[in-house]
Point group: C2
Chain length 347, copies 2
Amino acid sequence: MIEDKNQKKTALSDLGEFGLIEHLTAQFECSHPSTLKGVGDDAAVLDNLNKVTVVTTDLLIENVHFDLAYMPLKHLGYKAVVVNLSDVYAMNATPTQITVSIAVSNRFPLESLEELYAGIHLACRQYKVDMVGGDTTSSEKGLIISVTAIGEADKDEVVYRSGAKTTDLVVVSGDLGGAYLGLQILEREKQVFLVNPNNQPDLEPYAYLVQRQLKPEARQDIKLLLKQLDVKPTAMIDISDGLSSEIKHICKQSGLGAVLYENKIPIDPLVLTTSEEFQMHPLTAALNGGEDYELLFTIPVKDHDKIKGNPNLTVIGYMSDQHEQAFLHSKADELIPLTAQGWNAFG
Amino acid sequence: MIEDKNQKKTALSDLGEFGLIEHLTAQFECSHPSTLKGVGDDAAVLDNLNKVTVVTTDLLIENVHFDLAYMPLKHLGYKAVVVNLSDVYAMNATPTQITVSIAVSNRFPLESLEELYAGIHLACRQYKVDMVGGDTTSSEKGLIISVTAIGEADKDEVVYRSGAKTTDLVVVSGDLGGAYLGLQILEREKQVFLVNPNNQPDLEPYAYLVQRQLKPEARQDIKLLLKQLDVKPTAMIDISDGLSSEIKHICKQSGLGAVLYENKIPIDPLVLTTSEEFQMHPLTAALNGGEDYELLFTIPVKDHDKIKGNPNLTVIGYMSDQHEQAFLHSKADELIPLTAQGWNAFG
């Protein structure tokens, strides 16, 4: 690939803060009836017709949450929005607005921020949310992104982590472990690149895994799907830190235990073969890998027939009355306590 | 002052992310009727009884927005909340909830974060807002704080920047320039300290200025005051970047010009004497200093009698039909164009 090294780059100081905000947000249009006022005042103003509002926020730091060596800025912008929307869907709510704040060091030209905002814009269109505000400033080091997502739901639709009941079935959407193995692939290619910069990586065989890591999607389909199936989850959470960590959250907040079956956990064939390549147990990726942004929820056992056979959903276990104790029922018929390795930024 | 250098410090890695969030947020209680669910789920859930919701967010970066050399962490936590609430008040709304995300490098022990959260907690009590969520992670360098504030108002109460009309009076609360001179004092003492660490600064004579910088308050009283006076502002903004920058925002969004009178701009006597000490024109601090968090608003000229003589409010000029042109009418009877130096993080 021949790169034009003389592409024009615009220094951020040429625009100033207000000019930069105007420039970056000019392409965003608000279309939600509830958005009375978006960017451009002291605060956004949202209308609310007797629904509940949900709000969630995430802070993403360069070299802690993402590595620009293999994360294109457009994907980063997309993912930064999606991970927040995933939290809104995990409340069984519908996201309606986001705010996006960024801090960047002087090493970023305007064109880089345009890429980032192109990804944010794409996510806004894909998930039909309005970008209604934010903040743009400089950092001493690296790129920092803070996204807050706001959503709405009818009061009786909202699903907390705390509502699971004993004997409820534990259900997960999609498959698990892909995003973590995608990260391993990208890390490996980065090391190869550092040794030999002329090496062109062939990521094609791992396309699914890399996409799960670089351009994850939030499960906006599940709320409608469950409504159509006439199933209301009793508890729900999104899988950002890994299945072990998330089921333990549901256990803790519902005051219950859980048993998950090893042989029921949905794992893509490519996760199996790639795990082997990395000499890693595929279950490690599924249980502790995180970033899959699938939904984990519990439903009454009476609703089993309604979801049985649905290709989007897998029953992986049940809630028990063993207070806060979550176990994996292994293929060898052993009960192994699940440990929430989760993701510890301070580890 | 004798300092105990052997105070026990707790490494953040001892707690892990979830432990840290639990520890730091344990003292926060939710009391707003609209807070259905605070910290501890994928998202907070807010009820909304036919009011509008306003939302605003700020991102604060160490050594860009604050200097821990003279900013105590408790004050920083307090100020990080207050600057966001100020934006809510500037919509003529009442803040109800905040989210707080922080990223810290490993150099911060738990006790530092406890100080920070003590300040956040104090602000929550002072302004009667609920802390309903956030994110806690690590940074590569320094402390990063992202606050999102949510507020509510009746639909007909909300005041935008865009509603000013020709001949409207321009009004400001409190006095201006103090926070900027407070910063100059603190910067000077820091330089003295760097040369001679044994020097004990005497900040007492500058107490008002230092307090304006380190522990600013948002004008939560103005909404009620104006209601009692039966005055509804036509446009409003808070003064975070300096009077020049803010009046130009109102001009631009209202499609009008403005004339401000130099001799009407409210400046505290201590700002006058301290400006002299720094060989600076006090007007520079008032016009371009920023961080005063007073409210700037416009009212119909017919309401002049209602606010006249109120010690909290000063009429400083009027809106003109000169499209987007803001002038200072100087003591020498000259019209000087106001330039929005504002605060350019990328300058």
